[in-house]
Amino acid sequence: MWRYAIPVAIFAVLFGFLFVGLNRDPSYVPSPLIGKHAPAFSLTTVEDPNKQVSPEDFHGKPFVLNVWGTWCAECRREHETLLEISRQGLAPIVGLNWKDERESAEQWLRQLGDPYAATAFDPEGRAGIDWGVYGAPETFLIDANGVIVYKHIAPLTMEVWNREFVPRIRAGGGRS
């Protein structure tokens, strides 16, 4: 007799999952690089094609890597926040100019202000692929040992900075 209740029981389980699923974002892709060593790259800077920049340059203290492009409207929105963060001086921000053109990027930084300690120029997106970048803006937090501890997708706001980045930086850049 109880076997007739099996279908409704299965539906109840299904309902549970669908209900929880409504609050999840199916297109958000978490990074598998959290806890791994930051992928190396050696790229020219946006301003000076003869200068090189690499994550190794910032080893020893926590730093932030921000992926951006002049074609990305959301990056424009977060630029103010980045300027504010660089003024605070808690951690240097390294820019990764992704899939862009050198002149446009230079002009952008000149006109809007440069929050970056250095900006790497990645026109082909190779370094981006190594870092698992799939859109802009994306912002990574790397600890003093060169390990990626956090990744934020979408424009950075002061709220997210204070909630996610600052505590981790203060804790020595270790995983909280």
Binding site: Y4, P7, F15, F17, L18, V20, L22, R24
Partner: protein, 651 residues
């Protein structure tokens, strides 16, 4: 007529749907039968007002009323008039109104054609349909109002998505909706039977034509969607196991199982509780599909813009409809047992196995589609489940089903005596295997284990389905529509399997660049790019290439693929040049310009691809033929011989 009138009409339709469900369900209770006289008028009234609401939206589109937000988002003054009509169901709000309209049409058909059934029972059926209509009307009014205004009005609209600007948009959604909304009818019949607490086999005879007609439309709707994706999207695929595609395929599988289960219930009074469960299952899958497509829980190219509040509403609706009907089933289903038996080898056994495999197939598609959601909800990370998974595991229930089908078609009720067909079947399977090896070797140059198995299965089903009609015709007996319909439907399935197997195993695809004057070969075919030129369309500008296709030196056709840029939405789109043929398609799509007049192209050779859609259409035709059988028409007397003949190997 301003859209406010349409909005008001929709509100009235909602009220009438509520009235319909109250009169219908309460009116079936003892002592309240006076309410039943209000049911059919409520159905008619609801229908009229839904039509009015739909018409008001249609007029807003035709008159380019961009003060209506929905029109401004999905239309444009340059949009051809034909598409301005089809654009009504181009996005979420309007497509829901179409859903409601289709349901209203089904409801009024049920009200009209059930005059011969017990009044209380029909009252319940219409009451349940009223509940479903009321739910959808409320959903539209509360969360998805197509009549919302945009003030100040836009100067011009954002245009219909170019991918939808195609004649198929006019027929694919209406067909599809007629199909899976139509499963609400057997659902309502099942709930009514559960409420009543008894089920005569005559119930099955009532329900079967409704189910078959809905199934028919769903078959055509899915086939149209597949064909449209094939020629419109430019990459030559015909099925991607996308969540939205799966959402329409699962009800189809359940509906097929339902039709077969109804046959057993009608003939022998058996499998009653299975049939009831399948009727609930089929419509439940339609509703779950609606949820998946509109709530944002899954990512899909077809998904409508999502909104969690909409998702919550549909989920609540699911709990009421599915949870409610399944709870009713849990409570009442034990009343529907029966005591008759059948042999181990009998039509009943074959049909039971058939249904089990179909339900397993629908279930595994559901599991695969929802698995990423399960893992994410349990915080176990993100995965993707796509064609490599589905294409493989779908074979697990399907291949056995095909082979069982070829034999089971000929099993008699109660105790099958397959002696008379055993030789024919063995000869046919031998012939099928032989053809499966020879034909591909000769035509395409290679064979593989999987292609041989698939080809054999398709061929065997096709040949086997011919046995019954051919032997009856040779014996000079008349063929009932029921048996003919069954044979035709199974033949269609065989044709489909042949097409799917061959195209998957032997299609050739090449991406390469061509400069004007250059030619390349693909298999036996030669493609030469003559030139490219500019073309101006009604609401797009395009570059058109002229490609000459030859086979073994002789010119076959000239194709004109285009790369279009629609002026309003500015996304580039490719219109493939296709040379159709019963035995192969030749497919050319443009990529991007490479400078100096050179372009990248995707060239494809697709053998037997048309069999996929032809097979589906034949299946639907089989369903149609079956429905015309005289047993579903009242008051047609039959001779004793016909009745006797049908009793043996009736469908």
């Amino acid at each position: 007529m301003s859209v406010e009138l349409g909005h008001f009409a929709l509100i009235l339709a909602f009220c009438l749907a509520v009235a319909q469900s109250v009169f219908g369900l309460v009116g079936a209770m003892p002592g309240k039968s006076y309410l039943q006289s209000g049911v059919r008028p409520a159905v008619a009234g609801q229908f009229v007002f839904v039509v009015l609401a739909f018409a008001s939206l249609a007029l807003a589109f035709q008159h380019n009323d961009f003060s209506v937000l929905y029109v401004a988002s999905n239309s444009n003054s340059q949009l051809p008039a034909f598409y301005r009509f089809a654009a009504i169901w181009g996005a979420h709000e309007g497509s829901l109104l179409l859903w409601l309209l289709v349901l209203a049409c089904w409801s009024i058909a049920v009200a009209a054609f059930t005059k011969n059934m017990p009044a209380t029972f029909v009252s319940r059926v219409l009451g349940v349909l009223g509940l479903v209509s009321a739910g959808f009307a409320l959903f539209i009014l509360a969360t998805s109002n197509p009549f919302a205004r945009l003030l100040p009005a836009a100067l011009d609209g954002r245009d219909l998505n170019p991918l939808l600007q195609d004649p198929a948009l006019a027929i694919h959604p209406p067909m599809l909706y007629t199909g899976y909304v139509g499963f609400a009818v057997p659902f309502a019949f099942a709930v009514a039977a559960l409420l009543e607490g008894k089920l005569d086999p005559v119930w099955a005879r009532w329900v079967r034509p409704w189910t078959t007609v809905a199934w028919m439309f769903l078959t055509v709707g899915i086939a149209l969607g597949s064909w449209w994706a094939y020629y419109e999207l430019g990459w030559g695929g015909w099925w991607f196991w996308d969540p939205v595609e799966n959402a329409s395929f699962m009800p189809w599988l359940a509906g097929t199982a339902l039709i077969h289960s109804l046959a057993v219930t009608e003939k022998r009074g058996l499998f009653k509780s299975w049939t009831l469960l399948l009727a609930i299952f089929a419509f439940s899958l339609s509703l779950v599909g609606t949820f998946l497509v509109r709530s944002g829980v899954l990512v899909s190219v077809h998904a409508f813009a999502s909104d969690p509040s909409r998702g919550m509403f549909i989920l609540a609706f699911l709990v009421i409809c599915i949870g409610g009907s399944l709870s009713l089933y849990a409570w009442r289903a034990q009343r529907f047992g029966s005591t008759a038996g059948f042999a181990v080898v009998s039509r009943e056994s074959f049909l039971l196995l058939n249904n089990v495999l179909l339900v397993a197939a629908a279930s595994l598609i559901l599991v695969g589609t929802l698995y990423p959601l399960f893992l994410d909800a349990l915080h176990l990370g993100k995965i993707s489940v796509g064609p490599p998974y589905f294409a493989t595991v779908f074979m697990i229930p399907m291949l056995p089903l095909l082979f069982l089908l070829a034999v089971g078609m000929h099993a008699a009720w109660k105790r099958a005596k397959l002696e008379s067909v055993k030789t024919k079947l063995l000869v046919m399977v031998g012939a099928s295997i032989a053809l499966a090896i020879i034909v591909p070797l000769v035509s395409y140059g290679s064979v593989s284990v999987l292609s041989v198995i698939g080809f054999t299965a398709g061929m065997w089903v096709l040949l086997s389905s011919l046995i019954e009609p051919v032997s009856r015709w040779r014996a000079g007996h008349k063929l009932s529509a029921s048996v003919l319909g069954m044979s035709v439907a199974h033949l269609g399935l065989g044709v489909f399997v042949l097409g799917a197997t061959v195209v998957k195993a032997y299609e050739i695809e090449k991406d390469l660049s061509l400069t004007p004057g250059q030619s390349v070969t693909l298999g036996n075919y030669e493609f030469k790019l003559n030139d490219t030129r500019n073309v101006v369309g009604p609401n797009y500008d395009a570059i058109e290439a002229t490609v000459v296709v030859s086979r073994l030196g002789r010119e076959v056709t000239v194709l004109h693929p285009q790369k279009r840029t629609y002026r309003v939405q500015t996304n580039p789109m490719t219109e493939a040049g296709i040379d159709p043929g019963w035995n192969r398609d030749v497919f050319v799509a443009m990529g991007e310009p490479l400078g100096q007049g050179a372009w990248s192209f995707r060239l494809q050779y697709k053998p037997l691809v048309r069999f996929i859609w032809i097979g589906a259409v034949i299946m639907a035709l089989g369903g149609f033929i079956g429905v015309t059988d005289r047993r579903y028409r009242a008051r047609v007397p039959r001779s004793a011989d016909e009745a006797a003949r049908e009793a043996t190997v009736g469908a």
